[in-house]
């Protein structure tokens, strides 16, 4: 493929018009060609700027809160204080970061009530201070003590709120994991109930003699689900890739990795229209390749 051909691919990639195979070819070329990388950047920026000709549309206000909540549920290690909400230091806000911020004004108040005097000077009263001044000082000390006690109570309440909030987030992330599992189970059920679907059993080859997989393929839409077991863990930077082989030609499918027990499940879109194709799983570079290069781990043919 000549340089000019890559330049044509660049332009099509910038407007999002490349198929997976062409994109893989272009991606393989870019690291070695500074000129194409530069042009790729320019054309991608130019294409994206077309969006400025469309009138913006304000999303409903509730969406902001809902997206922020979903993001929070995804990452339990972080608590977020929204900068657009006013931070009221007298209120115990949720989360460790927020409570740290809320505690500062309380501490500062106590110190500023005592001013720059040492406690001893204030309690004994220096000769220069009369009775009225001493009473005022005593009031200040009492106020300071009250402020300190309120501050420490606020601290412990904040910690309690933070603890409850952590528990809430843990529950939320558990629920979202379950929702995902449910959605993927529905995917499989959907596919299996479709009339054009065929099931293939794949068995392990030399690198994974204990490997097995079931694959359902809907030839009218190309939708496929593979459930594999007994595969060794992928080495760093590699993934298993699914292939549909028709007329001796392997057509690339998606990539997947195994869990700690060697199980894997993937929903994919394969080229539709093949009556009784053979399926294979190879070990390839992460992200997949347009033509198989690695060892075959699983292979099997669907029953027409």
């Amino acid at each position: 493929m000549g340089h000019e051909d890559y330049k044509q691919l660049l332009a099509l990639e910038a407007v999002g018009a490349l198929d997976r195979e062409e994109r893989a070819r272009l991606e393989a070329h870019l690291p070695s060609c500074a000129e194409c990388r530069e042009e790729s950047r320019e054309l991608a920026d130019a294409a994206a700027s077309l969006v400025y000709t469309i009138a913006p549309v304000q999303p409903p206000p509730s969406m902001r809160a809902s997206i922020l909540a979903r993001v929070r549920a995804l990452d339990p290690s972080e608590v977020f204080v929204d900068p657009s909400e006013a931070v009221d230091p007298s209120e115990a806000r949720v989360g460790p970061r927020a409570s740290a911020r809320a505690s500062v004004p309380g501490a500062r108040d106590a110190r500023s009530l005592l001013g720059g005097f040492s406690l001893w000077e204030l309690l004994t009263g220096r000769p220069a201070l009369g009775f009225g001044a001493a009473a005022a000082v005593l009031t200040l000390v009492l106020l300071g003590a009250t402020a300190l006690s309120l501050w420490s109570r606020n601290q412990s309440l904040s910690a309690e709120v933070a603890r409850l909030y952590d528990r809430l987030r843990a529950t939320e992330s558990e629920m979202s994991a379950q929702r995902e599992q449910l959605a993927s189970a529905r995917d499989v059920e959907d596919l299996l109930s479709s009339p054009g679907v065929r099931v293939a059993e794949l068995s392990g080859k030399t690198p994974a003699p204990g490997g097995r997989a079931m694959l359902a393929y809907d030839r009218s839409t190309g939708r496929a689900v593979i459930m594999a077991t007994g595969l060794p863990p992928c080495p760093e930077g590699h993934a298993y890739q699914l292939w549909l082989i028709a007329d001796n030609k392997p057509l690339p499918g998606g990539t997947f990795k195994t869990d700690a027990e060697g199980h894997a499940q993937m929903s994919d879109r394969l080229p539709p229209g093949h009556a009784a194709p053979t399926f294979a799983v190879t070990l390839e570079r992460e992200g997949g390749v347009p033509a198989p290069q690695g060892d075959i781990f699983l292979v099997g043919t669907s029953k027409g």
Binding site: A44, D45, A46, L74
Partner: protein, 196 residues
């Protein structure tokens, strides 16, 4: 007028790097700045308010999860965001069958489209860019302008465009490339360094 633009670009890249580190306030700012323009794009491609809003949420979840894959050497932050939104919309367009689409559309009959009310300075930057892009598009031959808009903003594939315009596929591809190159050059001369 090119100074505020460059600042916005540098800001955007900085915001995405902060999002990659898990900074949720940076994420909220990216949302505030770009959700209206991305929703406009999604609505244009999907032609359904409910679907566009649905995809917008997916896009921002993806922004949160994949911000670390943003690479400044491959394009501006704005380009990264738009590319993400656009490909999600196209995926949706090709996966949701017509029955579901009809149901989604009928569910939203009569819902008003709220127009954007962004802070005035961001409006000004957006207006300036919109004017530059319209001007640059206006300099292109009609056929080149059409293929760019159909491919990028309507999400049509090159062969769909060829069929719709009754032109050879090769011609459509050549026009896409010529149009895009010319657009890029013209934008650079209009908006200065940020496109260099």
């Amino acid at each position: 007028m090119s100074l505020p633009n460059q600042q916005t670009d540098a800001d955007d890249a900085g915001l995405l790097r902060a999002v990659a580190r898990g900074d949720e306030s940076a994420f909220a700012r990216v949302y505030d700045r770009y959700s209206p323009i991305l929703l406009g794009l999604l609505l244009r491609i999907l032609r359904s308010r409910a679907e566009a809003e649905d995809v917008l949420q997916e896009v921002f979840l993806q922004v949160w999860q994949q911000a670390r894959s943003f690479d400044e050497s491959r394009g501006r932050a704005f380009t990264w965001l738009v590319t993400l939104a656009r490909s999600r919309a196209i995926d949706r367009l090709r996966s949701v069958d017509s029955r579901e689409r009809a149901a989604l559309r009928s569910a939203e009959d009569g819902q008003p489209v709220t127009q954007a009310s962004a802070p005035a300075d961001e409006d000004a930057i957006r207006a300036e860019r919109a004017e530059a892009v319209r001007g640059a598009l206006g300099e292109l031959p009609e056929e080149q302008r059409q293929v760019l808009v159909l491919a990028y903003l309507e999400g049509m594939s090159q062969s769909e465009i060829a069929a719709a315009k009754n032109q050879p596929l090769g011609t459509v591809k050549t026009r896409t490339r010529a149009g895009l190159k010319k657009l890029s050059e013209s934008l650079r001369s209009r908006l200065g360094q940020q496109f260099a």
